[in-house]
């Protein structure tokens, strides 16, 4: 399978790999996917008092496209307000990384991961 240069770049030099403390009040954690399907993404966001995402971390078990999709969204969510981040569409991710049709599910998973992280943060602050 031929990967785009952007996928290879994110795969070789993934941005923002790591974890925040799940219990931290300012952190929202989203974990999506299943090992049996070959993809699991964990995306974490750190949100400041103004509802802006200051920082993000990810860990992904999955193919090169899954790793690249999650790496990319950690860059994209930084500096965004929660509702802006939750508005990121999988089609934007797929277009940015030139994902082939069989890898579109990786971008869907990345979109789901952002939504799950935002949801988790909001639950903590109800």
């Amino acid at each position: 399978m031929a990967y785009s240069d952007k996928v290879i770049d994110h795969y070789e030099n993934p941005r923002n790999v790591g974890s925040f403390d799940k219990g931290d009040e300012s952190v929202g954690t989203g974990m999506v996917g299943a090992p049996a399907c070959g993809d699991v993404m964990k995306l974490q966001i750190k949100v400041n008092k103004d509802g802006v995402i200051e920082d993000a971390r990810f860990k992904t078990y999955g193919c090169g496209s899954a790793i690249a999709s999650s790496s990319l969204v950690t860059e994209w969510v930084k500096g965004k307000k929660l509702e802006e981040a939750a508005g990121i569409k999988n089609t934007q991710i797929a277009a940015e990384l030139s994902l082939p049709p069989v890898k579109i599910h990786c971008s869907i998973l990345a979109e789901d991961a952002i939504k799950a992280a935002v949801e988790d943060y909001r639950k903590k602050h109800k």
Binding site: Y11, S19, G33, P35, G38, K59, T60, G62, D112
Partner: protein, 402 residues
């Protein structure tokens, strides 16, 4: 040492330089059609074809007359299964094979099912071998043929061909063996084995691609319905002008295999064990398939908590294949590993290493270090590895399947 390192000898092997040298004159000089009876060009080519047939026969201890040239093991398997089924269909319509067979067998069986035959697909045990009692239980009054591969292409396990042969012969059932991965690695003795049909390939044994053979026993006589019609070549079993240079290549490759097999096997076993010892120093790695009843060339391992496709992408300095067919649109893990009862995760994270004639200790050491580094990096990226390290049992987690 040249990169990438080739560790995919079960996909195909390079043509041995000695084999290539022997082939060349049959392209440019002795280009006659072996079927031409009226001049020396034809006689010369025919002589070379028959000499090669003797070489192949010598490696597998059969009579040269029992061998029919084909385009490769896939064609041999198609001819054996479809040819026998069509010829013996008045005797019965039931065939038996194994879930871990090569697609050439499984897809031919599927085609026979469409033509009205019934096929039983046997399970394998967790070690990859079939249970002979289960096989015996699957045999019926109307069973006409059993097909089992000698050496599995993904996990390298060696089935008990002598015992299966006895079982089939006692009941008068034909027995076909796919030996594509066995020649030059296992002793194949058709004088001793109760095998009726056996498929061979040249390019897994340092010969050229595009040539193979089918062994068709004459005593007791096995009959097949031809699948390729034309000039009635190869006793009518397989029409088509013989590819003299390819046949000469297969003959020479098999001659060398017979000469060098014993020493080569031991040399490769040492290298394989070195590879295994190196990889076993890592945590959470598992060998797929029985390690004892296995060709020494093969090592199939799963690297837990790392996904197979990203692993293959990471280990770009070595040419290996993933047990996982993840690159296809299906995203299905290896059906062979699934048949062993491996979880989807472990089946997804497997690598098949197959060593061969030109593999060196230096290459093996490089491969070990390369894999250790890449697996460690991917585990740093893996949320599953993190959970494992936190002591979470992943089987207790509720995943959102997608």
């Amino acid at each position: 040492m040249k990169l990438p390192i080739y560790l995919d000898y079960s996909a195909t092997t390079p043509v041995d330089a000695r084999v290539a040298q022997k082939m060349i004159p049959y392209l440019t000089e002795h280009y006659g059609n072996p079927a031409s009876r009226s001049h020396v060009f034809g006689w010369r080519a025919e002589e070379a074809v028959e000499q090669a047939r003797e070489e192949v026969a010598a490696l597998v201890r059969c009579e040269a007359k029992d061998l029919v040239w084909t385009s490769g093991a896939t064609e041999s398997i198609n001819l054996a299964l479809k040819g026998a089924a069509e010829f013996y269909k008045t005797k019965g319509k039931h065939l038996v094979t194994v879930k871990t067979e090569h697609k050439a067998t499984l897809d031919s069986m599927r085609e026979l099912e469409r033509r009205g035959f019934e096929v039983t697909y046997l399970d394998v045990r967790p070690d990859g071998l079939i249970d002979l009692n289960q096989l015996e239980g699957a045999l019926r009054k109307d069973t006409i043929l059993v097909s089992v591969m000698f050496v599995n292409n993904e996990i390298g396990v060696v089935q008990d061909i002598p015992a299966i042969g006895e079982l089939c012969r006692r009941r008068g059932i034909l027995f076909h063996v796919d030996s594509a991965q066995a020649t030059g690695k296992c002793d194949v003795d058709l004088q001793a084995l109760k095998v009726d049909l056996m498929s061979f390939s040249a390019h897994k044994t340092y010969g050229p691609k595009g040539i193979g053979a089918l062994y068709i026993r004459r005593k007791p006589r096995v009959r097949l319905e031809a699948q390729m019609h034309g000039g009635g070549h190869e006793r009518g079993f397989r029409s088509g002008t013989l590819a003299t240079h390819q046949i000469v290549g297969m003959g020479e490759a098999y001659r060398l295999a017979k000469l060098e097999m014993a020493a080569e096997r031991e040399r490769i076993r040492v290298l394989r064990d070195r590879l295994l010892a190196g990889l076993n120093r890592m945590e959470e790695v598992f060998v797929n398939g029985d390690l004892e009843r296995r060709v020494p060339h093969n090592l199939n391992m799963s690297f837990n908590y790392v996904e197979g496709e990203s692993l293959i992408m990471a280990v770009k300095d070595i040419a290996v294949s993933s047990g996982s067919a993840c690159t296809s649109a299906s995203l299905e893990p290896s059906y062979v590993l699934r048949a062993l009862g491996r979880s989807d995760e472990l089946a997804h994270s497997s690598i098949r290493f197959t060593l061969g004639r030109f593999t060196t200790a230096e290459e093996v050491d490089y491969a070990v270090n390369h894999i250790q580094a890449k697996v460690a990096r991917l585990r740093e990226l893996s949320p599953l590895w993190e959970m494992h390290k936190e002591g979470i049992d992943l089987n207790t987690v509720q995943w959102a399947a997608h």
